[in-house]
Symmetry: C2
Subunit: 205 residues, 2 copies
Amino acid sequence: MSRGEETRARILDVAQDSVLAKGFDATSIEEIVANAEITKSGFFYHFRDKNALARALIDRHIEVEKELFDDLLGRARELSDDPLQGALIGLKLLAELIEDMPGGHPGCIVATAAYQDRLFDQDVRDANRRAVLGWRARFRRMFEEIAQVYPMRDDVELEHLADFVSSVVEGGIVMARAVGDPLITSQQVMLLRSYIKLLFEPRIQ
Amino acid sequence: MSRGEETRARILDVAQDSVLAKGFDATSIEEIVANAEITKSGFFYHFRDKNALARALIDRHIEVEKELFDDLLGRARELSDDPLQGALIGLKLLAELIEDMPGGHPGCIVATAAYQDRLFDQDVRDANRRAVLGWRARFRRMFEEIAQVYPMRDDVELEHLADFVSSVVEGGIVMARAVGDPLITSQQVMLLRSYIKLLFEPRIQ
DNA sequence: TGTACATCAGTGAACGCGCGTTCACTGATGTAC
DNA sequence: TGTACATCAGTGAACGCGCGTTCACTGATGTAC
């Protein structure tokens, strides 16, 4: 990583912290450059304007999250050949991952962008939309594999079910923040896991 | 309602629209007073400062949401004496209510406040916290009544389950906004309903 | 190996605009006698 | 019923501060010959 790339990454790091805590508009460039220890004009060397920063934050978020899930589901798949058990293990790993984050899940910039969309230009909104549709496709595949092996106990659309994963995580983050209890997010993920179990797991009785 | 109360309500109405669309900080007082058709100083007659507006928005939101749920669960209770059936009917009514909102659920200011909390003073954060804890208590009672009659198919905490209702709604709103498909929120509520059904409903087989 | 030039990764000062807030004032309505 | 005063619900002009953005410049590193 060159000096320029390092500075750029540092800007994104400190910007993300502030954006998640206060929202995009309330995060001033002045504040970002103070924390990143450069000058204001240094910021504008790396980003054409504030919108370009938003775009870069979302793009990087997509990248990081994709790697995280690849890793998580890959590990889960190693632990079980069965797609249902793999998914259940994956969700448990996800809950543990979130639980172990100091101070709770830092928040999702896709959610902040969703609640501030009239602020951003079409580019940013598109990037945001693509991120969510990417999650949908990923989890849909996961549930399709399960549904090929196990009958469903209730008649629900796999696409809605795929979105349910994202919903519960996003909602769980909002709840954790609102109540001030970081553990809520992982508890909610475990309830999602309970649903998947009841929906697909054959009854032993 | 006196003239002053009408103006105050009009200010809150237009402010809420903007806050949900762009976030609190990005909503200027200038913009609010333009839409409410008063002068800027008229705004400061009704609110001491911008924080007082945030506080009032959250307080009113709690009030409105409480009435909405009282009405909804009351109607559901009229349709069935059984607590489980009542809850399932209530969730279905909720999904329909959200589905019928033109342009989708307008969003939850508790969620925007959750993602911008460092902006607000302790008063506002407390109001926000109380709102969410109120929901928790309400849904917890609902699930306790069900659990007294029906055994649970999976061992989950009723408190977490109560939060799950809020999580799914909040997450569903985020998803609907991010994807740009207003129907997602009600679809997610129907999945929550599916979970409650599988979790409590006795098997017929 | 030295020189000339180009690119990279910034700096420092200045800009104008919009924002939240204040303050002195005002017309309309309500109340006491 | 009329008058005096108080309160309500604002108006209009001005303020200073912080913000995003621009622009001319600069030292360090890379590249060609």
